[in-house]
Symmetry: C2
Subunit: 193 residues, 2 copies
């Protein structure tokens, strides 16, 4: 998606450790017009698919998913919460432990059983995809719920970290609107499509 | 706002400790159509005001603020992150410690100085208002930034916890779309308007 790629090129900053900082429009301050364009593009790419619900992950995934949901006929959005591992009172909850590279520790993705039901077809939407840990957790939650994965919509994928391609290799339809192939030397290079 | 109140009455559950659980449409699963109505109502109540930006607080505040921003001409939305108190590397950050009654511990609200600038007029939007700690933190962050508070838009206020009225007593324009006056005996009663 050209508008997103151009924005990444003009405002993204590459920090040591292959970090791409785009917190002026996607991760901390949110550009609502751009999010609308992103949502429209997801709707175009997943058109004709039966989708009952959108699942995302707090925090910035919520912004992308909620705006996008409007272009899917106002589908309900459920967000997985990030709880500390080992929390009490897991009754009624679906939980999946993932490793957070951002926080450098395990995080427990948590969704109430009330909001993911057997047979529901669920589109997972998130802002970022790197190693794919968060998505692995979401897919695990869907499996626990007996729900089905309808596809994955991602705004920015760090292609060189391999998570997206691993999921594609499992037959999952991962649609990323900008795939960053390399940040070597501080230069942002996108995958050819 | 009648649509919101009716939804609270039909789906809200009152739990011990004066907890109002409305996670089927506002706090965990999100009803996008209802969020659109909420956003339109905020735009109506704050029409004619100069507003440059919307500030909210992760996580479920992001949903309310982003959908609402569309009815304010796609204003940018910034969300305050909830960091553990005592985090390192506070350079470039605005921080305000609040007490979280949900987590029963202090939480550090954090916003990058890049995204709250001197002179900006900021509307704070959040899903819930109870004791007002989160808003106190937001107002503190705005003060540190040299920004101005244009008003506060809240979906659901727990009026009996006093936070909203304390802020109104300070001259702040707090617009809450549903003010719960009492949960006594498990019955949800709204404030007369």
């Amino acid at each position: 998606m050209e508008a997103l790629k151009n924005r990444i090129l003009s405002e993204g900053r590459v920090l040591p450790g292959d970090i791409l900082k785009i917190d002026g429009f996607l991760n901390h301050q949110l550009d609502i017009s751009l999010l609308c364009q992103i949502g429209q593009e997801f709707a175009r790419r997943f058109s004709g698919r039966r989708i009952d619900k959108i699942l995302t992950i707090e925090a910035s995934g919520i912004a992308v998913a909620c705006i996008a949901a409007q272009y899917f006929g106002n589908l309900p959005v459920v967000f997985a919460k990030k709880a500390k591992s080992g929390n009490l009172d897991t009754q009624g909850l679906l939980q999946s432990e993932i490793y957070s590279y951002t926080y450098q520790k395990p995080v427990m993705l948590t969704v109430s059983k009330d909001w993911l039901r057997p047979g529901e077809r669920v589109l997972v939407i998130d802002d970022f995809l790197a190693n794919g840990e968060a998505l692995r957790g979401c897919i695990d939650l869907l499996g626990q719920a007996g729900a089905e994965l309808a596809g994955v919509g991602i705004a920015v994928e760090k292609g060189f970290q391999g998570g997206g391609d691993r999921l594609r290799g499992m037959g999952i339809d991962v649609q990323s609107l900008a795939i960053v192939e390399s940040l070597a030397g501080g230069a942002i290079r996108f995958r050819e499509e």
